[in-house]
Amino acid sequence: MENIQNQSRRDFVKASAAVGGGLTLGFYLPGSVSVAQADGGGGSAMPNAWVKIGSDNQVTILVARSEMGQGVATSMPMLVAEELEVDMSKIKVEFAPPAEVYINSLLGGQLTGGSTSVRDAWEKLRKAGASARMMLVAAAAKEWGVDASAIKAENATLIGPGGKRMSYGMAAPSAATMEVPKDVPLKPVSAFKVVGNAKQKRLDTPAKVRGEPMFGIDTKVPGMLYAAVAMSPYIGGKVKSYDDSRAKNMPGVKSVVQYSRGVAVVADSYWQAKKAVDLLEIDWDEGPNAGLNMQKIWAGLREASQKDGAVFREAGNVEEAMPKAAKTVTSTYQLPFLSHSPMEMQNTTAHVTADKALIITPTQFQQLIPHVVAGATGLKPEQVEVRTTFLGGGFGRRVEVDYSIDAAEISKLAGGVPVKMLWSRETDMTHDSYRPAGLYTLTAGLDAGGKMTAVRFHSTSPSISARLFPSIVKDGIDPFAVEGIDNFPYAVPNLKFTYVMHDAGVTPGYWRAVSHNLNAVALECFIDECASAAGKDPIEYRLGQIDMDKANKHKWSGLSAGVPVGDRMKAALELVREKAGWNSALAKGRGRGVAVMEGYNTVIAMVAEVTVSASYDVSIDRIVAVVDAGPLIHPDQALAQMQSTINFGQSAGMYGEITVKNNSIEQTNFDMYRVVRMNEAPKSMEIHFVKAAAGQPPGGLGEPGTAVVVPAIANAIFSATGKRVKRLPMTPENIRSA
């Protein structure tokens, strides 16, 4: 994992072949294989480019991240357009295919996640735009026989001495032959016209409002058939045998095939396939987890939590300090499995023939698909073409490529026909990769004044990375299992933080804000408990102990700021106290709670105001957040991401719980897996963005709010009721029994 602030790695630029007499431009990281590929690409449209300029003057910007609602299909082109000097209303946007050039430097893959899209693109894409502009200018300078410094680029037009003009389209063929600039100066932030434009609209809104085809589920290719599937109701189960005598005789059915994870019916329409699939009689092998249930899962986690675990942060000597404390506070937080449940169920259109495969899919991880489809079909990765559609939500679910493999297998088994495989909601919810459940035990020693002198943190949960990216798991530490706590922001001299990796038998997956939603939730609830034990105001208590030391005392992993941010946290807390009217009185049954966190180099301080009824029903009256995310590229959509993450966290904190019974996921649809609806959304949301400091890079916004709203609500419930919920979600039952 590389920190964005480490700018020692210098990108260099390479022009590649022209498209339609135009210019394509890509950046290549030193040592990557795509340098050679680019050199050998003569005459063809290279896939690894950020900008295409056609001789018709059409500027196309390639977006190499998946658009799942977070707005990358607008924010990333804004970064290019700022330096390219083109009008955002005139550009076209295309989703990029998998290629080395598009690797996200913060994640090491062409992968959309970790709130890194803008962080990674911040400098890279502005340089892409600037390089293209400099080459266009150089082409015009050559044509006119003048110095490049005499030429101005504006609105996709080159303007020379005496008012000479040349369109980008006219200059593009010659620009493609110009030397790629080595030194690419960027505009100062103060000169931005596109980046930070509060009036910029999303480029994809009109098409979404007209209901145009754009999602994976909307895909249509010539000769396409439809597949519905039956997958094991048991976690890890497999088909033992099946009887398709009724299914295969249903109208429209073309074939019934058994693939690795189930049985598929391929038919002329989805409904025909779905009706037939429901008539399959399948005998399932329950697999290695037969009889798994929540009692066993929690017992397993409790037993595993007795282990010492791997130490991931330590300071002073907790064992010596704890007995000397005037008072100790200890709590275990029990956090449940959660489903991603994006509105668009998993689907893929696959066409696998003897020598190639076409995969059209809503994915967050296009780079991995050629490899896994090759593995499943016997083709080579270079024979697999991947096209990314718009995603009807992602939230981490679409980092998984399982459904692309399924569709490829089905297409091949059905005789090499193009097949659109679509899951039902029931299949989607019961075959998710779930936000891990876990146990989070915190113990603090307080001095006579209530200050923390020692903190012991011990978590036990499944490791997601051990399954998906085992190479990043070292010495028992999954960096994505300790995030949100290894950047512990309070000045406490004695610390010992440990993690126990425990496979609970339920597939764990990256879920929006990943372990911030576990660790930071437990921590910020616990700090509130300490404040309460100390008899202090929760904001005062935090302010009094935030670590203001600028020295890096600990190298933390993951996608956090990587440097101490005490000053930013203090400022955010002070501002949220003021904006929320923290000290004003509330009526009986109402309460206010606070939480603060740094994640993805974004600091959020949030206050929730709730009303709790006598029967412990909670309504969220007001959310006030102060967000320090550095410079905002697309301010209105930065706001939208805060609204989004608050909603997503509210769903999880108030209602979200996936449970297992008889080795099956119990929740199958939105009647059993409750999510926030219009009438339950916060009645008021006030989001205040902090002005960026000079030179401050952008932080991520697609995730962190999710993890902050949960403890803010829990602490507000405590303030309203005196009930400290330690078992989520915050249902009336769990509040009552707290």
Binding site: V209, I217, P342, R425
Partner: protein
């Protein structure tokens, strides 16, 4: 035997079996994919269309039950005040649930020219959005009411 109905003002005859949900007739047979599949159980509202002007869940509406009836989908809204407000406020994020949201909002405004927040809650709580566009949906409905 073909089933005749009117979709967005045009007479169409479809061959799907009578038990086929209207959702799949629209998407697979008529190629109008703006109407979305979200749960298959009338729990999420993504598939909302108008049946003679009333909002219904097309995933639970067999095509045989709407023979001769008038259906309106998102493709037939014709850039109405609701859609214009949705664009003005940049309501959609992923956008998947939005056709259903706009169909529910349009049906609400057809019978209630100036809905209160409580009216909006009552009319819109059958439509799930996982991205959390609720505050913008509410604001856009109020804006469309004033348009």
């Amino acid at each position: 035997m073909a089933i005749s109905l009117t979709v967005n003002g045009k007479a169409v005859a479809v061959n799907s079996s009578p038990d086929t949900p209207l959702l799949w007739v629209l998407r697979d047979e008529l190629g109008m994919v703006g109407t979305k599949f979200g749960c298959g159980k009338a729990l999420c509202g993504a598939c909302t269309v108008h049946l003679n002007g009333m909002a219904v869940r097309s995933c639970q509406t067999p095509i045989g039950s709407v023979a001769g009836q008038k259906i309106t989908t998102v493709e037939g809204l014709g850039m109405n005040a609701v859609q214009k407000a949705w664009i003005a406020l940049d309501v959609p994020q992923c956008g998947y649930c939005q056709p259903g949201q706009m169909m529910s909002a349009t049906a609400l405004l057809a019978v209630n020219k100036n809905p209160t927040d409580a009216d909006i809650d009552a009319a819109m709580s059958g439509n799930i959005c996982r991205c959390g566009t609720y505050p913008r949906i509410r604001a856009a409905i109020h804006a469309a009411a004033k348009a």
